[in-house]
Amino acid sequence: MIIKGQIIRVFPKDTNTDEIIAGKYKYDELDIKKLASHAFESIDPDFYEDSQKIKKPIIVADSNFGCGSSREQAPLVIKACNVSCIIAESFARIFYRNCFNIGLPLIECRDISHKVHQGDELEVEVDLGIIRNITNSKEYKFKPIPKFMQDLLNAGGLMPYLNAKGGFSEQE
């Protein structure tokens, strides 16, 4: 799988799920498209509008991105902003599961938030573990995604994966 896109934002360490989508909105709205207009509102009010102008936005972040609540609305609004993948130093674990479950690729790459800049064009070779920065012709390596998670992505998320397999097998 190859993902091409442009960095929309470089978020700091410990960006949390309340910042991604505030609790005050999430209970009222089951329509994710509408909810997406409030993505990152408290820390970055222009995010949604900018996401509509970029072709395939990529989010880059420092460590522990997505910490906090289990709300799946967090990855769902990011996906609804057309974000093609998130590359971070590390992710909080509930958020990590949630993203693969909905078919949104996450890449863990050391120190990435200090190596790239907003606006850079990237090309991510998911299977090989390589990120190419088209803007400055640099390359960064990452540990490829575990096989089970790749299977989830290839299926389009957990539900299509389970549909294809008819449930969980004994060991993944």
């Binding site: 009222d28 909080a92 993944e172």
Partner: protein
């Protein structure tokens, strides 16, 4: 201990890092996460849960419903629960975690909840963790989930806590020490004589906040205290002891001397921005909140009532108290605690998540709150332009009386 529980559950000798598929003994979700889980089940073409005795729904987050939209979301859940003949807990029954503690959780169970604070139930020796709605939907349909066996992080807490210093101060101290990602994907195991002496309620407070350091779960041993607690809930037969093996290995260890600890505070807008009350100084408060799945139990309310008895809440400060469940509210009424609170000037909310997520008593612009809850992210209490400090019930009650952050030992 996490490895022991999951090995027993899957009948495979598992070790940290293994990917497994495990049966789930209890799955639950609330009004913030269950509607989406039900929608996700549609993708599987399923509307029937795997076992109606093992799936529960709770209205606790936007509860009681503040709007017609949310009432319709609640109805969507009610209809699903009725169709499946599964237990459903209404507005006012309490917070999902407290209901699970009182009625369902037991040692050696695997419990998955659609809420990040599901790590709470490790206080009774269960492997318990939070997941998102898609995972919850898959479990509701199949009764199984996939997991990576977490590494373990041992916290050895020894010595006597000082008067007016509690398990909340211990866990805030720990999170301050290791940071918001200090235990990412680890099982945080709380051991040592201080924990052994703690009540189940105090242990629940510790495990509840494991996620604030990135923990997959929090775990305590299941001992005589767990047995007595389960007996008090009429579920003594569900007790089975749990303790770490003598040769258990830990990825990391941290030793804490309890007698060194002071009343602690988490400062805005991060749970790991921890300082002692003395270091934080006399911050003026608009609202003080006592309750939540972290600190809304009898022990917490008794501490607060002891502090507030015969005293008044400061003139320019509001005190709101939300007991964590219906049974706690009933007991608090019977013990006269609610009268003490009302006479002090506090308002009492319907058992549920209430203030913690700003669905009720949301903060105004520029306001400052002190709360016994577990999270103080920007906007958590409904307003991006407000500040939230976290503390124990004793510090909260003392501060409500003075109207500013106050060491409970001085009141």
């Amino acid at each position: 201990m996490a490895e022991k529980i999951l090995s027993a559950k899957t009948n495979i000798e598992v070790t940290a890092g293994d990917m497994i598929v495990t049966p789930v003994d209890l799955v639950f979700a609330h009004d913030g996460t269950m509607p989406l889980a039900i929608q996700q089940m549609d993708f599987l073409g399923k509307r029937e849960v795997f076992d109606p005795k093992k799936v529960i729904g709770i209205c606790d987050h936007a509860s009681p419903s503040p709007s017609e939209r949310i009432s319709n979301v609640h109805n969507f859940m009610r209809e699903f629960a009725r169709e499946n003949k599964m237990p459903f807990f209404e507005n006012g029954d309490g917070i999902c975690h407290q209901i699970v503690v009182e009625k369902f959780a037991a040692p050696w169970m695997t419990i998955i909840g659609g809420d990040s604070h599901t790590c709470t139930h490790g206080a009774l020796g269960a492997f318990s963790t939070g997941m998102g709605s898609t995972d919850i939907g898959a479990i509701m349909a199949y009764g199984r989930t996939w997991l990576k066996i977490p590494e373990s992080f041992k916290f050895k807490v020894t010595g006597e806590l000082k008067k007016w210093v509690y398990s909340k101060d211990v866990i805030l101290h720990i999170i301050g020490e290791i940071g918001a990602d200090g235990a990412t994907y680890m099982s945080m195991e709380f051991l040592g004589d201080t924990i052994d002496r703690m009540s189940i309620e105090s242990r629940l407070t510790m495990c509840n906040m494991a996620i604030e350091a990135g923990g997959k779960t929090g775990l305590c041993i299941a001992d005589e205290k767990a047995k007595i607690f389960l007996e008090s809930q009429g579920r003594g037969n569900e007790y089975k002891s749990l303790s770490p093996d003598k040769d258990a290995t830990y990825k990391e260890e941290l030793a804490i001397e309890a007698s060194d600890l002071e009343p602690m505070i988490s400062c805005p807008h991060r749970v790991d921005k921890v300082a002692s009350v003395a270091e934080v100084g006399e911050v003026e408060l608009d609202q003080v909140c006592i309750g939540s799945c972290t600190n809304g139990r009898m022990e917490d309310l008794r501490i607060a009532a002891e502090m507030l008895k015969g005293k008044k809440v400061a003139k320019d400060t509001r005190l709101v108290i939300y007991p964590a469940s219906r049974s706690i509210l009933i007991q608090a009424v019977q013990e006269g605690l609610i009268e003490t609170f009302l006479r002090s000037g506090a308002s009492i909310g319907s058992p549920g998540c209430g203030f913690c997520i700003g669905r009720t008593v949301a903060l105004g612009d520029g306001e400052v709150a002190l709360s016994t809850q577990n999270r103080n992210f920007r906007g958590r209490m409904g307003n991006d332009n407000s500040e939230i400090y976290l503390c124990s019930p004793a510090t909260a009650a003392a501060s409500a009386i003075t109207g500013k952050i106050t060491d409970p030992r001085g009141v």
